[in-house]
């Protein structure tokens, strides 16, 4: 264990450089730069509110906040796993020349998206205040959701990064899977109707929905569902364990396939 910690400390600077690179290059050459990380979720929120709020006759004033909470978590999950999936191949030039622990590549992909995600939470705070969703004591639950989603994304990221090296098709399969995940996360509709039907399991066993629900509870001032918490935690830790195991087992073969 100590060996791993020492190793990590030695490459801490490289990790921070890789994270910085991800953030810098994402918005380089755009006029608004990092502002896009806030503007983009805001604009999607407006579109989704018009379509699923106004056009569907939903007049709830706080509906935009509801959409934004789900949408922000989902887009972090989708962006970071996509980036991790491609990370090994994108850095193949480096991997072929200099020895660096390979887990740094998917890790930095997830982390730089996490930083962007945290910045975009500012939008949520502003929109919440404007629409009258006041912060409550339940907001202390928010870090739970934020940590869970990080573990989960990293776990998925490691698994996808490993598969992505050997099968290029995974990129396309994963974007289809992500679409399915998006529609089963109750991002732009209320889950009540679905939860009462025979299809409730789609939400209950969807770990990402569980995390989104915990996050919403903290924003809207409710107690989180403890079963969702247990399930999401167990699932995230399991994914992380599987991810680390697969990655460690296969990482020496990467170089032969990239």
């Amino acid at each position: 264990m100590k060996k791993y910690v020492d190793n990590f400390m030695q490459y801490r600077f490289l990790l921070s450089e890789l994270v910085k690179k991800g953030i810098k290059l994402k918005y380089r050459r755009s006029y608004l730069g990092i502002v896009w990380s806030m503007l983009e979720p805001l604009l999607t929120m407006i579109v989704l509110t018009i379509v699923f709020g106004t056009l569907y006759g939903n007049t709830d004033r706080t509906f935009p906040v509801y959409i934004l909470t789900g949408r922000l978590l989902y887009s972090f999950f989708s962006q970071s796993t996509k980036a991790a999936l491609k990370s090994i191949r994108q850095n193949s030039a480096m991997i072929k020349k200099v020895y660096v622990p390979k887990y740094l590549y998917p890790l930095s992909s997830v982390l730089f998206n996490y930083v962007i995600f945290l910045i975009s939470l500012i939008v949520l705070a502003v929109v919440s205040v404007i629409l009258g969703v006041k912060p409550t004591i339940y907001l202390i639950q928010a870090p739970v959701a934020l940590i869970l989603i990080l573990i989960m994304s990293y776990g998925f990221g490691m698994i996808l990064a490993t598969i992505g090296v050997f099968f290029r098709d995974m990129e396309y399969l994963w974007s289809v899977a992500l679409m399915l995940i998006m529609y089963t996360c109750a991002i732009f509709y209320y889950p009540t109707k679905l939860l009462k039907s025979g299809w409730a399991w789609i939400l209950k066993y969807n770990p990402l929905y569980c995390v989104i629900d915990i996050f919403r509870c903290s924003v809207f001032g409710e107690v989180m569902n403890i079963h969702y918490f247990e399930y999401a935690l167990g699932f995230s830790v399991l994914m992380m364990a599987i991810g680390l195991f697969c990655f460690k087992k296969k990482q020496d073969d990467f170089i032969l396939y990239i």
């Binding site: 600077f13 810098k24 290059l25 380089r28 030039a93 072929k96 020349k97 200099v98």
Partner: protein, 246 residues
């Protein structure tokens, strides 16, 4: 000179699977594994290579194209994990393999100095301190704030060389890098490498030019088809190599 080992290569073999057709999609893989069509040609790039390099030795690696020279360097650098055998290293190692390959084209020269330096294991403080020296040696001047994609290949290798040689490593791995840039820079870089030799660095050097190897190294080895066929004093080995190539 103390006779401590700097690099111990113990019975290293490296196998590559050369598949006849490249299978890199899931569909192909499933169809072919059902039909049992995946065939691999095993190819041993290195076979049971063992040797010890002592501290301060400068070893030239000779061999024809495809003899496994670059593979051996990459195994020692840690990029390839050997299929069998182990490599033990004592001391900080700097690999000068295909300079500038880790650069990000969208990043400027300055940003790349930090990125590439971090990859080589430098700390932030170290790079801050040596930054001016790197820029000066690379002769890039104002180009340092231009994205690397606008650099010429000579500029890229100059920057790569300057970053990699700013430390004083214990072990230096050179893969034909003494042919970087124009004649002026080549002289300068050779001088820099030679000055490192004086400080007692251990060197592994791959080159096709026997004259260059003779000038730089005190020992040499010959690889042929992945096997180590001779290792010893530079004079004996170069004689043997000349016979081989004629």
């Amino acid at each position: 000179m103390s006779k401590q080992p700097a690099i111990i290569v113990d019975n290293v073999s490296m196998k590559f699977n050369l598949s006849k057709e490249k299978v890199d999609s899931l569909k192909d893989y499933i169809i072919k594994s059902i039909k049992k069509e995946i065939k691999y040609n095993e190819f041993w790039a290195l076979q049971n290579v063992s040797f010890t390099v002592e501290k301060g030795d400068r070893v030239g690696i000779l061999g024809l194209n495809g003899a496994g020279k670059s593979t051996l360097l990459k195994v020692i650098a840690g990029v390839f994990k050997p299929t069998e055998g182990t490599v033990t290293k004592h001391g900080k190692m700097v690999p000068l393999l295909e300079l500038g390959a880790g650069f990000d084209p969208q990043y400027t020269g300055k940003e790349n100095i930090y990125l590439y330096g971090a990859m080589l294991g430098y700390t932030k403080e170290f790079i801050d301190e040596k930054y001016d020296e790197i820029v000066k040696f690379s002769e890039l001047k104002d180009f340092i704030d231009v994205p690397i994609k606008n650099y010429s290949s000579g500029m890229k290798s100059r920057l790569g060389f300057s970053i990699a040689t700013v430390v004083s490593p214990k072990i230096l791995i050179l893969d034909e890098v003494l042919s970087v840039g124009d004649a002026k820079f080549r002289k300068k870089s050779e001088k820099k490498v030679l000055s490192m030799f004086d400080s007692g660095v251990t060197v592994l050097f791959v080159s096709h030019s026997l004259a260059q190897v003779q000038r730089i190294c005190n020992k040499a080895m010959i690889l042929e088809k992945g096997k180590l066929i001779a290792y010893g004093d530079i004079d004996t080995i170069s004689e043997q190599y000349e016979k081989m190539t004629n």
